[in-house]
């Protein structure tokens, strides 16, 4: 890309600190006039070496570290990590704990989509949208906070269960917040679908076709916006998702507008899931009884083996590959983040678009740099 810079071309670096980038990464774009000819993504500005750190922590301590892989989806990261250990050790999760996990993960999915959407809207020049989404998100965060005790990094899941039961009056709180949120989402949809300026900036921009998206390997909302109904919750159900009634939200256009529409629909679907769970949740223990791995045992030895467990993150497929050698620490943990291929797909998507559309496309992918860098 740097070898042949023509006479009327220039290279523009966006980032690593740039207000219109969702996290520190650097986008080097070669421009001819206003058009992007070629581009390249540079990563690693916040590479933390989590995989190496996890090898040196006990399994219980690892829970606190996996929270910090992607700060907007801490609960789904924990689910993937805890699920790996449960598969290796053969721990059965009691049904009530499974329901609690589903509820919390869906709430966390909604808050992640709200923030991602607001951030994206501010990138396309719609800053008041950010204010609206954060307003709803803060209420939701308070509900999550009242269960887990923290706003972002929860340390809530344990091997075989959850740390605490739902607090009293949780159902009413969720109902109250969802009442507001439903109205708010209808409002966002109306704003998005009626604003002609917004539509001119998004419809038909950054189009991915289903074949290209599959070839690139993206998952989550960017893939579902192209019409492929790929969702780990349906394809490889974990927890109690197979008992729940929900549909996979898809759109066919595959452009920026469709991706946002998928997120809006998914938030409605998540609310529906949470309401079902709150109606169906059985009473019972939140921790398995009679297993070798007690809740209080700080050191647990997991049988040797290898396992790949994947869950549906707000951004797509989140997978953990864990190798255990029978000691109290994992031998190797590989974190497969959903944004990794999505961010890789930016250079081909950006080819031939005007500069102003870079942020619209990058923002609509809802990239979380922290997870790519790990």
């Amino acid at each position: 890309m740097y070898d042949e810079v023509g006479p009327s071309e220039m290279i523009v670096h966006l980032g690593p600190q740039h207000p219109m980038l969702p996290g520190p990464f650097r986008l080097n774009a070669k421009l001819r006039g206003e058009t992007v000819v070629d581009s390249e993504v540079e990563m690693g500005w916040i590479h933390k070496g989590i995989e190496k750190i996890l090898e040196n922590k006990t399994y219980l301590q690892g829970i606190t570290i996996v929270d910090r892989i992607c700060y907007l989806a801490a609960l789904t990261n924990e689910e993937a990590y805890v699920g790996c250990v449960e598969k290796l050790a053969g721990i059965e999760v009691p049904e009530r704990a499974q329901y609690i996990r589903v509820i919390m993960e869906e709430l966390s999915r909604i808050q992640s989509h709200l923030l991602g959407m607001g951030e994206y809207a501010s990138f396309v020049g719609f800053v008041s949208m950010f204010m609206y989404t954060i307003k709803e998100r803060e209420d939701l965060m308070s509900v999550i906070d009242s269960v887990t005790g923290a706003r972002i990094t929860h340390s809530f899941l344990r091997f075989g269960g959850v740390k605490d039961d739902l607090p009293e009056g949780f159902k009413e709180d969720v109902k109250y917040v969802f009442g507001n949120l439903r109205k708010a989402i209808d409002n966002y949809e109306e704003l998005f679908s009626t604003d002609s300026i917004y539509k001119a900036r998004t419809v038909g921009i950054g189009t991915l076709t289903a074949e290209v998206a599959k070839d690139i390997g993206v998952s989550g909302p960017p893939l579902r916006a192209t019409g492929v109904a790929f969702d780990i919750r349906k394809d490889e159900p974990y927890l109690v998702y197979k008992d729940l009634d929900f549909k996979v939200c898809t759109q066919t256009a595959g452009d920026v507008f469709a991706r946002v529409q998928v997120r809006l629909d998914e938030m409605r679907e998540s609310m529906y899931i949470v309401e079902q769970c709150l109606d169906q949740i059985p009473s019972g223990p939140i921790f398995p009884e009679g297993t070798a791995y007690g809740r209080r045992s700080p050191v647990m030895r997991i049988p040797a083996g290898e396992v790949f467990h994947r869950v549906e993150d707000p951004r797509g497929e989140m997978g953990f590959y864990m190798v255990s050698d029978g000691s109290d620490k994992p031998y190797r943990v590989k974190i497969r983040g959903p944004v990794y291929p999505t961010l890789q797909a930016l250079p081909p998507l950006l080819k031939g678009v005007p500069v102003a559309d870079i942020v619209a496309i990058a923002g609509s992918m809802d990239t979380c740099t922290s997870e790519v860098d790990r």
């Binding site: 922590k57 219980l60 301590q61 690892g62 829970i63 606190t64 570290i65 008041s128 307003k135 803060e138 209420d139 308070s142 509900v143 906070d145 009242s146 269960v147 887990t148 005790g149 923290a150 990094t153 340390s155 740390k163 605490d164 607090p167 009293e168 009056g169 949780f170 709180d173 109250y176 704003l191 009626t194 604003d195 002609s196 209080r296 700080p298």
Partner: protein, 147 residues
Amino acid sequence: MVLKNIKKALNHIYFKPTVTRMCPEEPTRLADRFRGLQKLDKSKCIGCGICANTCPNNAIKIVKAKIGPDSSKKRWFPSIDVGHCLFCGLCIDQCPKGALSSTKVYTTGVIRWEHNDLLFTPDMLAREVDINAEKEAGEEVSRWTPQ
């Protein structure tokens, strides 16, 4: 479209509840599970060191400290470097005697001007030393309420 947005904004001026939480004048109401600075009950602590071993970040060390403000006898108690503490709650979870607990101190007591002030000795954790965090905790609510 533009008019609609203006109307929405005007609506919010008078007819909608306020959203801004008036911190720091009014402390935010926190859930009772909120994990802030730990509190040590010196009468329950046996100095076993499970908390120090469990801590994912090596923020806890067991040191010798006086068993009471006016006693000269010394025993082993945990001291915490808050600059390393993740507030994950594992030490509280694992304590066999329930000597550690969470409080809602997270601003005035722990935000410091110097790095070295971030070390919390057992006396500070047991609140025998004033850490200027009395009015910190705010109103305790058992659950979240719309605010």
